[in-house]
Symmetry: C2
Subunit: 326 residues, 2 copies
């Protein structure tokens, strides 16, 4: 299809080129150049988002710009890393300048706020829908990264923020729940403007042992930590920080949203019990709820206990990009 105007280089400079911070070479060379601090390791993560799969075709482009970066920053947060820079590759079926401007605005606003400058990119055409790929780079002091394989038997399991909000928003947006405008208004922000827990992650580096962001659902993401750390977990249902948007819903939906709801971008982290006071103080300082929801144990798998100490029959395993139907 013929393109109305511009060209790859015009597009990059018009919407995505920003002056690089001092000491960095940004968009416009074969590579960007960065200078990580001494004594730090470089943390790197990449995510691809496909129209129709990871976002609706009619999503507001400004929100999409935010979310595209947010989901990647969340991976840095879960590693305890400070953002250093990001790259963006974008494929568009056609050029819509208003769309691009709004997308870039949303991306750059979060980029500025999180001090994660866009330093490189690739703009292309040829995909039937929009495809986005962001790579983020961050730095974390050597040996302080919050790795998945570092949970230890006896650790507390913590969750930041609240759970279930994004899942309910997704159900409402997809028509899998009856329309409920008030609930949608309360829930949509979780889905549309997720906040990567960067400050929490950075403060936890050197304090907690392990962390993961809850992008695929608590049980599935916790399961990744347990598999990597070769241990088991007990989770207390009543201790899980259910978001108020879950109030009044059927118990089966509540359970599913709490345990298997994805797109949450809160952190689930493991720390020694002697860190409890420090972590609670940290939560208060950041104005962010931190809830102690279970313990790491010997063995394998997750047991979720109800108020009576009875284990729930667990069948929820969260979101799997290939086993669902598109």
């Amino acid at each position: 299809m013929p393109m109305p105007s511009g060209g790859e280089f015009d597009l990059i400079s018009r919407y995505f080129d920003r002056p690089a911070p001092s000491g960095m070479l940004g968009v416009g060379d074969d590579c960007a150049l960065l200078s990580p601090a001494q004594g730090c390791e470089l943390a790197v993560s990449t995510d691809m988002l496909i129209e129709g799969r990871h976002f609706f075709p009619d999503i507001a482009p400004r929100l999409l710009g935010h979310k595209t970066l947010a989901v990647n920053l969340s991976d840095l947060a879960a590693m305890g890393a400070r953002p250093l820079a990001c790259t963006l590759a974008i494929s568009l079926p056609s050029i819509n300048e208003a769309w691009l401007q709004a997308f870039a605005d949303g991306f750059h606003a979060l980029s500025r706020e999180s001090r994660c400058p866009l330093v490189g990119g690739d703009t292309t055409g040829g995909s039937p829908g929009v495809v986005l790929c962001v790579t983020v780079m961050g730095e974390v002091r050597r040996h302080q990264a919050l790795r998945r394989d570092a949970a230890r038997v006896g650790d507390d399991i913590w969750v930041s923020g609240t759970l279930g909000g994004a899942d309910i928003a997704l159900r409402l947006a997809q028509g899998r729940m009856p329309p409920d405008p008030a609930r949608w208004q309360a829930a949509r922000t979780f889905l549309e403007l997720p906040v990567p827990r960067l400050k929490l992650g950075r403060y936890l580096a050197g304090v907690a042992h392990a962390a993961i962001d809850i992008s695929d659902g608590l049980l599935q993401d916790l399961g990744h930590v347990l598999d990597a750390s070769q241990c088991a977990a007990e989770v207390w249902l009543d201790a899980l920080p259910a978001d108020p948007v879950l109030d009044g819903l059927d118990e089966s939906i509540r359970l599913d949203a709490l345990l298997a709801g994805g797109d949450a971008y809160e952190l689930c982290f493991m720390a020694h019990p002697r860190r409890r006071e420090q972590i609670e103080t940290l939560g208060r300082q950041l104005g962010l709820a931190v809830s102690r929801v279970g313990t790491i144990q010997r063995g394998t798998g997750v047991r979720v206990l109800d108020a009576d100490g009875q284990a729930l029959p667990i069948t929820h395993r969260g979101f799997d990009h290939f086993s669902e139907t598109a």
Copy 2:
């Protein structure tokens, strides 16, 4: 569409997980962890490849795996950087295990050969065709990177290898030239198995001033250097290293392939004339032709001079991802 088996995590571990080199944390955590050397800057580049746009749907997957990484490594080469690690995001319309295995084989073979381990990735479904996005990271000693904005008036302009081979292969593959099996056999490697000039790039760091890889055609890529360095260039047509696959072709096709043919992945670099002997010695040591093809001058734009010193009327500006028709 329902997926036959596996799931995101199975796919990643089955085809793409390799033990990370010592001191690195690879696939399987929120982020990969790398340790760039002290005194080095980090060079980062990202490229997205779309089925039907950047490669044919029926391309041999092993060749695609090679090329996907090669085009990114070429950006590191053009910066004078040593590869450190790469990430791969891949979206597939469906799971074809034989295809994935061959793709991964091609990718890993070049990854091993160039010492650029795959440390992170994202596998998803949902795109109608295959979409690939690679980000490479490399390291280059501080102040030695071959930047586009560092060409100086009086510099020699050099080109590595030969020019035009990939362009002829592309014309034959797309049926834009009459079938010519012998020429196709001689040309296809340029298109299918491009060799990133990593060693040349590394040795040129600290020797040459500026460099770019010829991915969009000599004139267009040279133009980027001139724009960034605010200078002009004179290029001698007879000095350009025409590949033998151009022999016997019409002059208009030869010219177009030489000056505007993309996908070449040779380096075009600029160095002070006192470096001539050093650069020629380097070429001999690497077994790679290096040709001195022009000079950097005051002013703007490129003049291409024929054997009589007459300037060619230049209309070739290479490949632009948005102005062509898909």
